[in-house]
């Protein structure tokens, strides 16, 4: 990941919370506002009509104010939210299990084995990353890339191991990095139990997963040493699809066309990725040519664009005529 999403989410939780997964367990004083449950109607939906600043509570700058009360979730929304909590819990547990094996291999100085476990250990994480971004600086602690490290920072997390395994080929000092990573993942396990989930936040998170693909994975920036970007890509994609599947019944009512489009586009990206499968994983991304990367970008864009409308389409006052669509 890049540095900023984590702290962004924290702040968003404090200051806005309309769109965001928030943590009631988080001790930050500012966070009290964020721990209130937000219903979809409180979100930005109203801004689609382009309200002028200052015209009272409906003003666009009202989105900056905390409007964190409102109606409880409908049973349908409740189902989506529960389903998602089960999903993220399972994904985090999976990441923890494989990371334990990874750290074991690191401690045994078994570089070859550790390399086979590295990307796998990240799959669970990559599929739910936007949720994790709500937990203070947890995200940068476990997933900061080297390029995002500033002079004077301490660098921890998966990518430190990645560099040691592929670039330095030397695991000196990595035991400690591994232990810290496991501690941080334990924290994640605890945090997801109580994380506040709203359908809007889920939809925004799905869109962010696709952003991650488009800005980090497609370019090969994320896994600069291991070139396992396609594994992350697939995990991001699956995480987004899970959200879509859960929200489908709600979105269907407001914008059936959007749902149909998303189904097709998700399938297209899956198909495009299949080409690069190798064994139970994917080819190294440095073997994927520029023009192949371009083709991947195209399908990702084709999905990312409609997916960005999902959050709008699940608002209770939404119908597809409110959506800023150029095609329908």
């Amino acid at each position: 990941m890049r540095l900023h999403r984590a702290s962004h989410r924290l702040a968003a939780a404090a200051a806005v919370s309309a769109l965001v997964l928030t943590v009631s367990a988080c001790g930050d004083d500012d966070d009290s506002a964020g721990s209130t449950n937000i219903t979809p109607t409180d979100s930005a939906g109203g801004s689609v009509s382009g309200s002028v600043a200052g015209s009272g509570s409906g003003s666009a700058s009202g989105a900056f104010e905390d409007q964190a009360t409102g109606a409880p979730l409908t049973p349908e929304e409740q189902t989506a939210v529960e389903g998602y909590r089960n999903y993220i819990t399972a994904q985090v547990a999976d990441s923890v299990t494989v990371t334990e094996e990874l750290v074991e291999a690191v401690k045994a100085d078994d570089i070859t084995k550790a390399k086979t476990l590295y990307a796998k250990s990240r799959i669970g994480w990559e599929s739910i990353e936007p949720v994790a971004a709500a937990f203070g600086d947890l995200d940068p602690r476990v997933d900061l890339r080297e390029a995002d490290v500033e002079d004077g920072d301490t660098w921890t997390g998966w990518h430190v191991l990645e560099k040691a395994l592929w670039e330095d080929k030397d695991l000196e000092g990595m035991d400690e990095i591994g232990d810290t990573l496991l501690d941080d993942l334990d924290e994640l396990t605890e945090s997801v139990k109580t994380v506040e989930i709203t359908p809007t936040a889920m939809a925004m998170g799905a869109k962010e997963l696709l952003d991650e693909v488009a800005s980090g994975k497609i370019t090969g920036e994320e896994e600069a040493f291991s070139h396992t970007d396609l594994v992350d890509f697939k995990a991001n994609l699956d995480g987004a699809r899970k959200v879509f599947d859960l929200l489908k019944p709600i979105a269907e009512r407001n914008d059936a066309d959007l749902v149909k489009t998303l189904e097709t586009e998700f399938d297209d990206v899956d198909m495009a990725l299949e080409k690069y499968e190798k064994g139970d994983s994917y080819v190294s991304y440095d073997t994927v040519t520029e023009s192949e990367r371009k083709a991947l970008t195209d399908v990702v864009n084709a999905l990312g664009e409609p997916l960005s409308k999902l959050a709008g389409a699940i608002q209770s006052d939404s119908d597809n005529s409110a959506s800023p669509s150029s095609t329908s």
């Binding site: 900023h4 999403r5 200051a15 600043a53 666009a60 952003d211």
Partner: protein, 435 residues
């Protein structure tokens, strides 16, 4: 017609007139007196005030479109000057080891720059030498175009003073402390081929062809002494130094430059932008420090972001430009209403110990990248009295926390000491340092 209220076209120096005349002849346009020419569309390029008069042309900074901005003055033009529409920014590596050659180049550049800013050919003889066996002295693409408020602003990079500890032109001891190398900021993905440079020239004009013409001719004059290191075109101003005018929008669709010091606010300029009369080194007094950053904007991803989120990230209303919680664009920023990590909150002088810069950036789109994404962004230019307490302070805060970072990448960087303006006719760019 006189294009400059303080300048009488009849006083045009002979050599400049001859350049003008030769061009006119080639164009097949009749008429010799500047007054006659003044009635034609390209009057601004042809008619020019004498040097003496031009230095008095105080009105230059707010010159109407098409007309020249005074080249000479206490401060270099192109900083406090009302922001023109187009940019061509270029940096150069100095190739010679000889200080005298560098000085000659700066003198030649000063002459050419002054000529071009007043609408003349770069050299005399210009585009049409009397002996046709010579190549033209001016490249010619600006023939017939008005001066378009062209300004040329020069700056000296750290590597001019020392390169890897090596004193290059006896300047090492004169390097300003404020011209420190910029630190690595979180998220920097800088391309060395789009960073640094011994010299930088910022060309701004309302017509892109006029800006490009100026850079091209300076580069040509410099062959053998300097070579172009990297350059950047900008097409849409993303900042304003003239609060009375409508604020332009950047490629994220937000008004940009609302809270920028006004170029005409001399008190603010003296306090934050110009190197003061007591500041050191003395050769920089009246000058300013420029930080340039090529910032790629991932527009495709930004465009998929909800309006509410976009506004939260910037800390301003998109339509009106008003700060969070306020009504109108010019309303004061209310920190209590600013989202925790909004760009405006994090960049504001209030959160940065008063750090204030004059932003003068431009949008760019350098075609697309190999992945079908626009290679678009903001070419960020900021002037300040001391970058250590200006840009560096602010960027430290932004690079760590600004949510905008998810949508941008810093891909190029430079810091330059821009010397004071040249006033007297025998002065030249950088003479306070090298003279």
């Amino acid at each position: 017609m006189s294009i400059d209220p303080s300048g009488d076209p009849n006083e045009t120096p002979a050599n400049e007139l001859s350049a003008a005349v030769s061009r006119r002849r080639a164009l097949g346009i009749a008429g010799i007196g500047a007054a006659t020419i003044g009635g034609l569309g390209y009057a601004g390029r042809e008619a020019v005030a004498g040097t003496e008069d031009r230095q008095l042309a105080k009105g230059g900074d707010s010159a109407p479109r098409g007309l020249p901005v005074a080249f000479r003055g206490e401060h270099q033009a192109g900083i406090a000057t009302a922001v023109q529409d187009r940019l061509h920014f270029t940096t150069f590596d100095v190739k010679t080891e000889n200080r005298g050659e560098l000085v000659s180049l700066l003198q030649a550049w000063t002459r050419a720059a002054e000529r071009m800013c007043s609408g003349l050919d770069a050299l005399d003889p210009g585009a049409f030498p009397r002996i046709a066996e010579y190549p033209p002295g001016d490249t010619g693409e600006a023939i017939g175009l008005p001066p378009s408020r062209l300004t040329l602003t020069i700056g000296f990079g750290p590597s001019l003073f020392e390169r890897g500890k090596r004193d290059r032109f006896g300047l090492k001891g004169r390097r300003p402390e404020a011209l420190a190398d910029l630190p690595k900021f979180a998220g920097d993905t800088l391309d060395p081929l789009r960073s640094g440079g011994d010299l930088a020239v910022q060309a701004c004009a309302d017509d892109p062809q006029v800006a490009v013409h100026a850079i091209r001719n300076l580069a040509r004059i410099g062959f053998g002494t300097v070579s172009v290191r990297w350059s950047q075109l900008g097409f849409g101003k993303t900042s304003s130094t003239t609060p009375e005018q409508q604020t332009p929008r950047n490629l994220f669709g937000f008004k940009d430059g609302t809270n920028n010091p006004a170029g005409a606010d001399t008190a603010a300029m003296d306090q934050h932008i110009w190197v003061g009369a007591e500041d050191n080194p003395a050769w920089m007094r009246g000058g300013s420090y420029l930080v340039a950053r090529r910032i790629r904007m991932l527009v495709e991803i930004w465009d998929r972001t909800s309006l509410a989120e976009q506004e939260k990230i910037i800390g301003r209303d998109k339509r009106e430009g008003s700060p969070a919680g306020q009504r109108l664009e010019r309303d004061a920023v209310d920190m209590a209403a600013q989202p925790e990590l909004a760009h405006v909150r994090l960049s504001s002088p209030d959160t940065n110990g008063g750090a204030t810069m004059l932003r003068r950036g431009y949008s760019f789109v350098d075609g697309s990248d190999g992945l079908g994404r626009l290679d678009a962004g903001l070419f960020f230019l900021a002037y300040q009295r001391d970058p250590r307490t200006g840009f560096v302070t602010v960027q430290k805060s932004l690079s760590k926390n600004d949510v905008l970072n998810e949508y941008i990448r810093h891909t190029g960087s430079g810091v330059y000491a821009c010397p004071p303006g040249v006033v007297a006719p025998d002065r030249w760019w950088g003479d306070t340092l090298l003279g």
